[in-house]
Symmetry: D2
Subunit: 282 residues, 4 copies
């Protein structure tokens, strides 16, 4: 059975990139299934972005040859991955469980395009629900004077080498810059508002006070700056003056689940290219 | 032919308000067409809001009697208006004309629920298009050392006594607190972003830089604080990484037109009750 | 603690209904929380619809008095129910389990506004997932010459007297008119298309063949005529030419869950008034 | 200044198409701006669709060479067009003018990606509004025993050779198969419902009677079979039980304008590929 592979790349824009890459794949006897490309404004930074999916009888050696034969001449940043080796996802959660359950549910239905490998939480409550699915559940409390540092050290042990992406499913602890640097993995967060409106805590209460007519949720990569990393996906829902904070929270939870799952799925399908502080989503 | 009237009121919430008001109207031989009410959270300020539409063979004296017979005992703020006397709308515009044209178009189709009475602008360009519809066009330039004060004085002359509501159809001059106070009329603005994200200038450029996945528009009442008045209506449209600022601006213009017209129509139908810094929209 | 109650009523439209009802409630010392009313076109059938929520220290005798004191003079069809006694919901499912799981999930989070009391299915597969929540699971196969009649007889036994509403969560058996008549309970179905487009089987395949740009789902009350009962709620999602039937089915499942849960919740909150072949949803 | 061109093509799917086409363009010193491709299900008809936009210093001879060098070996149907030569659009309208005005408005703002060249109508009413924009207005009544045949003959005279696409902006006459065959141009219609629901006349009345919760509009290419041609674009808007047919018609008109303009713009940008009875929209 042929392998299904994905090339994701970006480089300074110039003529001939598509021709060179598609010829390389044709000569390797690959069959292109989809091709998405985008060139950012040449007056700004003029970057070319590419995602190709293709099948191949025998992918051996393809990655080794792509670098010297193609990528170097175009100064390309790139990865070639196999859709046969789904990304390993670790989930961090706190008390609220709607995003965690959505991820478990999508995984069971094989709709994540990735594999859950572990759940860690600063709350003990979700152990039974998680272990029932066969996943390990790690209770990593954050407590005491040294709590945060100790918890982050424990999380580093758990996450490094065991996963390809970390998903914060309403994990309410702020991760330190040092932790993120040592982790060196993409971290996806769901923020319960339409960023950049209502940064920080209690956004539904903020939204109610401001009288907005739509509430939203934003999935983004985590960076050192709180709630300011590259946005992957957003969505909103219409609300009325007669919705109290509890109703906003309930409806918001639905949007959070939807938006987070889309972001995780797209990340696992290698559809999201980070570039500066924004993303290209193919 | 019977008159079609609207009662809009709010007061401290307590039992018996609907019973008293509906009995008053029944005894006046009014026929209730619609009734909307809302009670805000009793733990907060516990305010009761009411809007009723009704028909009446002879509305004479109804307003005179409503005060002493009903409103006083409930400490009610209220108005009774006739749908037969549509609100008079003045429009202020600057160079961009899409919101102005949308208002002209809706007025011609009798879809504003109000009557345009004049257009004023700090640009001379729209005279022909406006005068062709039969409306007066006032060119009120803002120029020179004394420009803003002189322009506001001229606008006050034009607007006071001639209209019931002022619509800023992408009018790019900031109105001074003194002007707003002397005008003493509701002023509706369209802001080209999903407030409170991207307050201030050039929101589509801000949105592009932040990489948001939705752009929006917000219609709100103007207050002394820039872009912070009570929100009447908002809407958004999905955008992609490949939309440049020009495309965002074009799509944004469509949302602006839609949102502004809804807000103006609802205002003219007495559907929007201001309360603190938010609105109840029935 | 005061009881929270709901009056739902409709009758021929005429002046004085709101006044009479609200005075009745005021004199019973009820505190009105919300009031929704609607009058259908007087040139058609001129019907008045009403829903009121109110609290009351002591609801004893209220229903007994409402009939003779109010309902009779207005020829009103009406019910008064207590929000303290949530409706009992029975769920029928077949092989597909996404709607069943959504209902279980919402019930656990107390978001249905009703109580699940049993699940019955013509497939044995969901027993473990259902029984784990504490609900009884009834396997009612439809097989053999007499299968349908026997299954319906068994379902009648299970459902009559045990529930207030039956939800077909992708139950793929067509219920006979005789069954519906004997059941004499509201039955809510989720149809996996935007009715009246794509009535009948395999709507996602039909939608793909027709090249539609949106797919939807419709929740409706079941009547003798297939897929033609009164619509409670509908929603759609945008789809592209590159979505295969499997993707349409996956996205469609999400819309089905959302639409069905809204319909069930609204029904349990007494928000849905059937009238002829359509509904008023307050 | 370089020319901006578009290649649109489809052919039986097989490896090497992208490589061959992109190499051809690279060697012609074209600079690819965007590339969209799609392969339909290989188990069905396995067709490959391609749209490329590129700039070129000198496009002379490119089309002549593309046939023998590329298209023939892949059995490709294809066109190469210049974005510098916008498509010429003829508009047919009847009494309702909201779609006509939307097209005039978009054209004035240069948002159609094509050029209006004439308006023809079976009503005389829109002459002034159309001629004011500088466009010719042709009154082509349909009356008498021979009315339809005479009108179609007159329309053929007007349209053939003068335009590239015909837009039916709520033109209420059904065009005969013979007319369409002789015209031999793409014809875009706006149907005021979400097809395939509510085919035929008076869809808002049908929608009201059926109690649907969303109403929509559909832009499609016209074929011999009424309301059944390939769909280009659709959209919907949420409606309530309290919207009368007049309100549905007003809101529907807004959706019609939006959907029709998107379809016309996409057609003029060569984004819509017809295939069987559906479309690929890049």
């Amino acid at each position: 059975m042929p392998d299904r592979m994905r090339l994701v790349a970006f480089c300074p824009d110039r003529p001939g990139i598509v021709a060179a890459v598609s010829r390389f794949l044709f000569e390797a006897e690959a069959n292109i299934i989809s091709l998405d490309q985008f060139s950012s404004d040449p007056d700004q930074d003029g970057t070319f972005f590419l995602r190709m999916e293709f099948t191949l009888q025998d992918g051996d050696g393809l990655s080794e040859r792509f670098g010297p034969e193609i990528a170097e001449q175009f100064e390309m940043s790139w990865t070639i991955t196999s859709a046969m080796r789904p990304k390993r996802i670790a989930v961090l959660a706190s008390r609220e469980d709607h995003c965690l359950h959505e991820l478990l549910w999508r995984w069971r239905r094989d709709e994540l395009a990735g594999d859950l490998v572990l759940v860690a939480s600063n709350h003990p409550d979700h152990r039974e629900a998680v272990e029932r699915t066969g996943l390990p559940y790690h209770y990593v409390p954050v407590a005491g004077a040294d709590g945060k540092a100790a918890a982050e050290a424990r999380l580093l042990e758990l996450l490094r080498d065991s996963c390809d992406v970390v998903v914060l499913a309403r994990y309410m602890q702020i991760l330190s810059p040092g932790f993120l640097q040592q982790l060196a993995l993409p971290v996806i967060n769901i923020h319960h508002s339409f960023l950049p409106a209502f940064v920080g805590a209690d956004p539904y209460r903020q939204a109610k006070a401001r009288g907005v007519k739509l509430i939203g949720a934003t999935a983004h990569y985590v960076t050192d700056e709180l709630d300011a990393g590259p946005i992957i996906e957003q969505d909103v829902i219409r609300v009325g003056h007669d919705y109290d904070v509890a109703t906003l929270t309930r409806l918001g939870a639905d949007i959070e689940r939807t938006v987070l799952v889309r972001a995780v799925r797209w990340h696992c399908e290698d559809r999201v290219l980070r570039h500066g502080n924004s993303t290209v989503v193919f």
